[in-house]
């Protein structure tokens, strides 16, 4: 997938703002910024551990469960300590742990959450989701510029 910054956005794009993470990743991929790739998926699955292990750094992007007033927030992620792959899907920290344990390396990783207002059936973002999408993409671009300048 990439050896640079990998942005994995996940969520259900048929559940309105739940899909904002996936839309952020698609936007990043469409930008075509060198050294930064976007990958959108409905949910995190085990095979992501392979490309994650090969990325220089990873940002997971998801809709925030903290309500529409929550800010776009970026937090450092560590691999899960005692992880359980409960379902067909996994948490970001679980994917990191899988990358470490199955493929030998967990890169630096962050979790970017974007505020969500409407999680009902629908294939459009709410005004809150649209603002969050724009803000998240800008945040990621700035983050990538900062890392590239280091």
């Amino acid at each position: 997938m990439t050896s640079g910054l990998l942005v994995i956005g996940y969520g259900n794009t048929l559940r309105s703002d739940d899909g904002v993470g996936a839309r952020v990743a698609e936007s990043i991929e469409d930008l075509g910024v060198p050294g930064m790739r976007g990958f959108a998926c409905p949910q995190l699955t085990p095979e992501l551990a392979d490309p994650v292990s090969r990325a220089a750094a990873v940002v997971f992007v998801d809709a925030s469960a903290e309500g529409p007033r929550a800010p776009v927030r970026m937090r450092r992620l560590e691999p899960a300590e005692s992880s359980r792959l409960l379902t067909h899907a996994a948490e970001p920290s679980t994917v990191l742990a899988l990358a470490r344990d199955a493929f030998g390396r967990a890169p630096e990783a962050w979790w970017l959450t974007v505020p969500a207002e409407d999680l009902g059936f629908g294939d459009r973002l709410s005004p809150v989701g649209r603002r969050g999408l724009k803000r998240a993409v800008e945040t990621l671009k700035a983050f990538h510029r900062g890392r590239s300048a280091e």
Partner: protein, 474 residues
């Protein structure tokens, strides 16, 4: 005084659900139910949209089996247009479905069920997962992940890397296979075959060491349903429906999937959002049927894949007529992976895959269209009714997990009767009940069309409705 145990939610399956186990005064299990507590509403959401949009919408129901919805939806569109799609389009759709079967079965076997096989039913739950599997056998765990990657590679090679490619469309597909894509898929095949062989070795050992589980995990007579070709061979995308009974006898054969409503009734349960389809002629109680790998192998006579056919012969010897143990869904899953790999290997040589003739065009010629395809978990129906302009008036989706609902209830009851004694809920018992559900690899996002995740709660409830005991697992 009767009591009830509830497991809520069930782990390592997709969606959100709980299990209730009913006990009598003496602590004996009298019945059990598998509930789905997510709300369905997707079919209503689609009404008023053009049918041609459905292949772009329905894959979003589920992140695990989007290809199944994509293909069934495109086939429903074919029926509305009343077209025969170009042969190349049919072959390419089949190739993608084989990739879907491989990736989905690999996830089910290696990540969700193999921890029980390799680490043991009674091992600590904190270790009985993919990480425990890595600790015990990193090569196997990694190979399982890569086998799933291989299936995904086929899907992405054909459909692109977009999150929900509307690659299959009413009338055909948007693009064919490239030489580069074929080479990429072919490159993976030796590793995929080797991983599958390793999985067979593991599961043969499991079968040898688990006679009690084979006997008690959903082992009962039922009907089986799946698509077969005109000569009774294994089908996964075309063909017609076949129903067989537990003696292996034909109940209905070569049924046009468009006529499914003549054969399948749908019952709603008060305690669950999951519909319970049944074979109409026998009614709800006697008409229970199973779908998915176990059923497909029971209803077919051959798989037209030499190595898989050898395994199929061995599989069929495990039953008298039909193989009735739901525990052997796992074995059937491996046989289907092997058959899929053999079909992929052979199909890659077909020059039609590179044809430019990929799509038939027509307007609305039928006001109703049914598309049926074999999803990894079983037969999937998309039934659309449209107006003259092609806007959807009604949508009905019958998914595999729903069709297995009655059998999952019975499986839970059988396992609980075998292992539950009194009001204590030891972890290994809990895990065995959960595993009974995992045999079916249910996908509750699909069956209720809801976004959701599955996690586990077990409740013991007395006849007065009070919770006597509860175990919760996040």
């Amino acid at each position: 005084m009767a009591k009830r145990i509830v497991i809520d939610p069930v782990t390592r399956i997709e969606g959100h659900a709980k299990i209730s186990v009913y006990l009598d005064d003496d602590g004996n299990v009298t019945d059990a139910e598998f509930h789905v507590v997510e709300f369905r509403g997707f079919e209503k959401f689609c009404e008023g949209r053009p049918y041609s949009e459905m292949p772009g919408i329905t894959p979003r129901i589920c992140g695990i089996c989007p290809v199944s919805h994509l293909l069934a939806s495109a086939k429903a569109g074919d029926a509305i247009m009343a077209v025969a799609i170009p042969p190349a389009a049919d072959k390419l759709r089949r190739l993608m479905n084989l990739g879907q079967i491989v990736q989905s079965h690999a996830l089910s076997f290696f990540h969700l069920s193999a921890p029980d096989f390799l680490l043991g039913w009674d091992s600590p739950p904190a270790k009985r997962n993919i990480f425990g599997l890595i600790a015990a056998n990193a090569d196997l765990a990694r190979a399982g992940i890569r086998l799933r990657q291989f299936g995904q590679e086929i899907i992405e090679t054909l459909g692109g890397r977009k999150i929900h490619p509307a690659w299959a469309v009413p009338g055909g597909v948007r693009s064919g296979l490239t030489e580069e894509g074929r080479a990429r898929i072919r490159h993976w095949l030796p590793e995929a075959f080797a991983t599958t062989a390793t999985a067979f070795d593991l599961f043969r050992r499991t079968m040898a060491s688990c006679p009690e589980e084979i006997e008690s995990f959903g082992n009962f007579p039922s009907l089986f349903m799946g698509l077969v070709s005109s000569d009774g061979s294994w089908e996964h995308h075309g063909g017609r429906l076949r129903f067989t009974d537990s003696s292996g006898g034909l109940v209905a054969d070569q049924v046009d999937p468009a006529h499914y409503r003549d054969y399948i009734g749908e019952s709603a349960q008060e305690a669950s959002y999951l519909k319970s389809p049944y074979f109409k002629a026998l009614g709800l109680r006697a008409g229970m049927y199973r779908v998915g790998p176990l059923a497909r192998l029971n209803v077919c006579e051959r798989m037209n894949a030499p190595r898989a056919d050898l395994e199929l012969q061995a599989f069929k010897q495990m039953g008298r007529g039909a193989v009735t143990s739901s525990f052997l869904y796992h074995y059937a899953r491996l046989i289907e992976i092997l058959a899929a790999l053999e079909h992929i290997e052979r199909d890659l040589d077909d020059p039609d895959l590179f044809s430019a003739d990929l799509r038939a065009d027509a307007g609305v010629n039928n006001l109703r269209g049914v598309g049926a395809s074999e999803a990894p978990r079983g037969t999937l129906f998309h039934d659309y009714t449209v107006d003259r302009t092609g806007l959807l008036q009604k949508v009905n989706l019958i998914v595999a997990t729903g069709q297995n609902n009655l059998a999952m209830n019975r499986t839970v009851a059988q396992i609980a009767r075998h292992y539950v004694r009194g009001e204590t809920i030891p972890e290994p018992m809990l895990n065995r009940i959960e595993h009974g559900i995992r045999c079916f690899d249910p996908c509750l996002s699909c069956s209720t069309h809801a976004a959701g995740r599955m996690a586990l709660r077990l409740q013991l409830i007395g006849p007065d409705g009070s919770v006597r005991r509860e175990v919760v697992r996040d």
